[in-house]
C-alpha cells in the first residue's frame, strides 16, 4: 500500500523534483558557487599583474575624522604620483590600525612568503624583520646627502651602516595638560613641573573623583614600554649598555618603576586610561588634568577640539637627572623577498629619501599637513618651519624644546620587550616589589641575549 502511494506521488510530482535531480542540482549549484572563490584564491593580484602591494593602516579609507581623511589622502596621492611617473605600478592595501599592529595578517603573510612588497614598520618590529631577512637594503638607492639629511633619525633603522627602513615621521613624547583645569586650581604656566615630585604634587592637587590628575599608559604593549623608557633614561638607566650587556637592574630603572607605582598607588594616576583611551574625549570631558602623550595628538585636537585650551611641557626629570624623551614614528620598508624588491626599495626612497624637492615636500606635507609630527629630515624640518607648520605655540614647543632632547625608540625584540612590559605592569598595577621585578626582568633579558643571534640590539 505504501509502495503504491509512493509510486503515485512520484508519478504526480513534477519531472524536475526527483531526489536524484535535486542532489545533482544542489551539487552543481554548490560547485558553481565555489568555483569563483576557489579560482580567485589560486593567486594574488600581484602574481597576475606584476603590481606591487603597499600595506598600510592609513588609506585608502573614509572616516568622520578629518585628520584621518587627510592622512589617507596623502597615501593615495603619493602612490598615484608614483604610478603616474613609473612603469611599475603600486596598489595601496589598507588594513585597520588594530589589525595591522595586533592582528595576524602581516605576520601570516610574511610567514607564508606572501608578504607585501612595501609596508609600514615600527621600531619595535625592526630587528625581527631584519633578522628574518625580509628588509631590503635601501642604501644603494639613496644619495649620501640624503642619508646625512636624516641624521640620527636613521640610527634605529640602520645595521652595519646600511639603511633598511626610512622614517616618515618623528613623534616625541611630552606632557599634555588642560589649561582650564590648571587655571581653576590657581596654577599658571610658571607652575609647570620640572621635577617628578612636583609633577606628582600637581597631579594630586588636580585630581578629582571623575578626573585623573596624571595619566600614564596602562595597557600592556609596545606603546606602554615606549612611553616608559624616557623615565628610565632620565636617571641614566639603560636596558642594554653600549657593549650590549644587560644593564636593566639599576637604580635608575627602579626609580622609574617606582614613579609609576607611586602615581597609581596614591590614586594620582588611574589604572586604566580615561575615556577608554580617547585622548581628545578625555580632555574635552574634563576627565584628565595631565596626560603623557605624543605629538600626533596635536592634529587630533586641531580636527576635533580646535577651541580646547591645552598646553604641552617637557617631561619632568628626577633629582640629578637629565631631560630625555622618546622619539617614536613609523617607517617605509621594502620586502627583500618581493618579486620586484628593487622597485619596492626604489619606491621607498623616491617617496621619502631622495634629494628631489618632491620628496622633501612630501615629507613636509605629511608631518605638518596631514599629521602633526617632527620631520625626520633636517631639510624637511626647515621647510616645514618656513611654511608655518611649527608656528602654533604647541608645535613650536615640540620642535624647539621637546624634540631636541629626544632619543629614538629602542628596537628591542619581543622577548626583551615582554620582560620590560611585565616589570612595568607588575609594579604599576599589581603592586609588586620594584626590586624583585627589576631583577626578574634583567635575568630574562640576560638569558635571551646570551643566545641571541642577529643584528645589534642597540
Amino acid at each position: 500500500m505504501l509502495h503504491h502511494r509512493a509510486a503515485a506521488e512520484r508519478a504526480a510530482a513534477p519531472p524536475g523534483a526527483t531526489r536524484r535531480r535535486f542532489l545533482a542540482t544542489t551539487a552543481g549549484a554548490g560547485a558553481a558557487a565555489a568555483s569563483p572563490a576557489l579560482l580567485t584564491g589560486c593567486g594574488t593580484a600581484r602574481a597576475g599583474t606584476g603590481r606591487l602591494r603597499f600595506w598600510n593602516f592609513y588609506g585608502p579609507q573614509r572616516s568622520p575624522d578629518p585628520a584621518i581623511n587627510a592622512q589617507s589622502k596623502w597615501f593615495v596621492d603619493t602612490v598615484a604620483r608614483w604610478n603616474a611617473t613609473h612603469k611599475t605600478q603600486i596598489d595601496l592595501v589598507y588594513l585597520p590600525r588594530n589589525t595591522y599592529i595586533n592582528g595576524f595578517k602581516l605576520p601570516s603573510a610574511f610567514a607564508t612568503g606572501e608578504g607585501p612588497d612595501v609596508f609600514l614598520l615600527s621600531p619595535g618590529d625592526f630587528l625581527r624583520y631584519h633578522n628574518g631577512g625580509v628588509l631590503a637594503d635601501l642604501t644603494p638607492h639613496m644619495a649620501k646627502e640624503a642619508v646625512d639629511d636624516f641624521g640620527s633619525a636613521l640610527d634605529s633603522r640602520t645595521v652595519d651602516g646600511r639603511v633598511y627602513a626610512l622614517p616618515m615621521e618623528v613623534e616625541p613624547l611630552a606632557m599634555f595638560y588642560a589649561q582650564d583645569v590648571w587655571e581653576k586650581a590657581g596654577l599658571s604656566e610658571a607652575d609647570i613641573p620640572t621635577s617628578w615630585d612636583r609633577m606628582l604634587d600637581i597631579g594630586d592637587k588636580l585630581r578629582a573623583k571623575t578626573r585623573a590628575g596624571l595619566v600614564f599608559e596602562t595597557n600592556p604593549g609596545y606603546l606602554q614600554n615606549f612611553t616608559w623608557y624616557p623615565w628610565m633614561w632620565q636617571g641614566g638607566g639603560e636596558v642594554l649598555d653600549e657593549s650590549g650587556e644587560v644593564a636593566f637592574d639599576s637604580r635608575a630603572t627602579r626609580q622609574a618603576l617606582q614613579l609609576w607605582q607611586d602615581a597609581v598607588r596614591h590614586g594620582i594616576a588611574p589604572r586604566t586610561p580615561p575615556a577608554a583611551g580617547d585622548v581628545i574625549s578625555g580632555f574635552k570631558g574634563g576627565n584628565v588634568a595631565m596626560w603623557q602623550q605624543g605629538i600626533w595628538n596635536v592634529s587630533s585636537f586641531k580636527a576635533y577640539a580646535p577651541a580646547f585650551r591645552y598646553g604641552v611641557f617637557k617631561l619632568p626629570v628626577p633629582p640629578g637627572g637629565r631631560y630625555l624623551t622618546a622619539l617614536g614614528g613609523w617607517s617605509f620598508a621594502a620586502n627583500a623577498r618581493s618579486g620586484n624588491a628593487e622597485a619596492a626599495a626604489e619606491f621607498c626612497v623616491w617617496a621619502l629619501g631622495s634629494m628631489q624637492d618632491d620628496a622633501v615636500d612630501r615629507m613636509v606635507d605629511w608631518c605638518v599637513g596631514a599629521k602633526s609630527d617632527v620631520a625626520p629630515r633636517e631639510s624637511a624640518l626647515e621647510r616645514g618651519a618656513a611654511k608655518g607648520g611649527y608656528d602654533s605655540a604647541v608645535m613650536r614647543r615640540f620642535k624647539d624644546e621637546i624634540f631636541p632632547g629626544g632619543r629614538a625608540e629602542p628596537r628591542y625584540p619581543p622577548v626583551v620587550y615582554k620582560a620590560i612590559s611585565d616589570a612595568i605592569q607588575g609594579t604599576m598595577l599589581a603592586d609588586r616589589g620594584v626590586a624583585g621585578e627589576t631583577e626578574r626582568a634583567a635575568s630574562a633579558i640576560a638569558a635571551y641575549t646570551e643566545s641571541y643571534k642577529g643584528a645589534s640590539l642597540i
Binding site: 610567514a111 573623583k209 578626573r211 586604566t272 605592569q425
Partner: protein, 320 residues
C-alpha cells in the same frame, strides 16, 4: 507457524532469479541513500578536514621546529615542549584559564538555564524578551569589548557612576588584577547567555507537557517538578551546553581580551589562548605557539573525555 515466511526466510527460500530481482531495487535504493548522505555530509567533512583537521596536524608537526616566521624551519625535536614546561608565563596563563573555565562554565550554565526557564513561560511579549536576551550574541565581540570598556571606565563609566550615586566608591574594574578577570567573565556570560538560553529552551520544549500536568495533579510544587521532571529530562541538553561552553571557554574570548584588557593588568587576563596568539603573531614564535596549542588541544580532549564519562554523554541511562 511454518506458513509464516519472514523476509529473511523468503530471501533464502525464494528462487534465485526472484531474489536478485527483489534485492536489486533495494540495493539501488540503499546505494542512493548512501550517496545522498555522503553528498550532504561532504561539504562539512571537507571543511573540517581543510580548516580544522589538516591545520591541527600541521600545527602539531610545526611544534617540533624552531620557526622564524620568515620561512626558515629548524628541527629542534621536543625543544619547544621543554621550553613550555619551564615557561612561568605559560603556566600562569594556564592557571588563569583554569580559573576562567571553572567560574565561567557553571555561571553561564545556571544563568542560561534560568533564562531558558523564564522565557519558556507564556508571558506577554516573551518573544521580545527572547530576542533582547539573544541580541548580545550576534554583536561583534570587538563592539562588545568597546561598549563594556566605556561602561566600566574608572572615571566616567556608568557602573562607577551608579556606585558613587549609591554612596560607594567606584572601582577600577579593568585595571585591578583581582577584578579584571571577573569582569571578562561577566561580559562573556552576558554575550553567551542568549545562545545557551535558546539551546535550553529547545530542550525544555521537548519535554512532554503531560508530565507537568500529571505532576501538578499529584500536587508537586515548582521545585519538585524541576527536580524530578525538568532536570532529568534536560540531561542531553545540559551535557551539550556543558561541553560546548567548556570548549568555548578554553579556546575563545580572544577578541574580547584584546579590546578589554590586552591581557593585562599584569597578565591578569592573559588566558592561554591569548598567550599562544601573542607568541605566534606578536612575537613570530610559531613553533613554540604550536607546541602550546597542541598541549591545549590535549587538555581539551581530556576534559571532553572526562565530561563524556561523568555524564555518560548526556544519555538518560545505559543502553538508551
Amino acid at each position: 507457524m511454518s506458513g509464516v515466511v519472514t523476509p529473511e526466510r523468503r530471501a533464502t527460500t525464494a528462487p534465485a532469479g526472484a531474489s536478485s530481482a527483489a534485492r536489486g531495487p533495494r540495493l539501488r535504493r540503499e546505494r542512493r541513500e548512501w550517496l545522498a548522505a555522503g553528498l550532504f555530509l561532504a561539504p562539512d567533512v571537507l571543511g573540517l578536514l581543510v580548516f580544522v583537521a589538516i591545520p591541527m596536524v600541521l600545527s602539531f608537526a610545526l611544534s617540533f621546529f624552531q620557526v622564524s616566521g620568515f620561512g626558515s624551519y629548524e628541527w629542534i625535536g621536543l625543544g619547544n615542549y621543554r621550553r613550555m614546561m619551564g615557561d612561568p608565563l605559560f603556566w600562569d596563563s594556564m592557571k588563569i584559564t583554569g580559573l576562567y573555565v571553572v567560574v565561567l562554565v557553571p555561571v553561564l550554565f545556571c544563568v542560561s538555564l534560568g533564562l531558558g526557564l523564564l522565557v519558556k513561560q507564556r508571558l506577554p511579549g516573551v518573544g521580545a524578551y527572547r530576542t533582547a536576551l539573544f541580541m548580545p550574541y550576534v554583536i561583534s565581540l570587538v563592539v562588545v569589548g568597546v561598549l563594556w570598556k566605556f561602561l566600566l571606565d574608572e572615571q566616567t563609566g556608568v557602573v562607577n557612576r551608579a556606585m558613587r550615586a549609591a554612596g560607594f566608591d567606584g572601582a577600577s574594574w579593568l585595571g585591578s588584577p583581582g577584578l579584571a578577570l571577573g569582569c571578562v567573565i561577566a561580559v562573556t556570560v552576558w554575550v553567551m547567555m542568549g545562545y545557551y538560553m535558546i539551546i535550553f529552551l529547545a530542550g525544555l520544549q521537548e519535554i512532554p507537557r503531560e508530565y507537568y500536568e500529571a505532576a501538578r495533579l499529584d500536587g508537586a510544587g515548582p521545585w519538585t517538578t524541576f527536580r524530578t521532571i525538568t532536570w532529568p529530562l534536560l540531561r542531553p541538553t545540559s551535557f551539550f551546553v556543558l561541553l560546548m561552553s567548556t570548549v568555548a571557554a578554553l579556546t575563545g574570548g580572544l577578541d574580547l581580551i584584546f579590546v578589554l584588557t590586552n591581557g593585562g593588568p599584569a597578565n591578569g587576563t592573559s588566558l592561554a589562548i591569548f598567550y599562544i596568539y601573542q607568541q605566534a603573531f606578536g612575537f613570530g614564535e610559531y613553533g613554540y605557539a604550536s607546541a602550546m596549542g597542541s598541549f591545549l588541544v590535549l587538555i581539551m580532549v581530556i576534559v571532553s573525555a572526562v565530561l563524556f564519562t561523568v555524564t555518560r554523554g548526556g544519555r538518560f541511562d545505559d543502553g538508551e
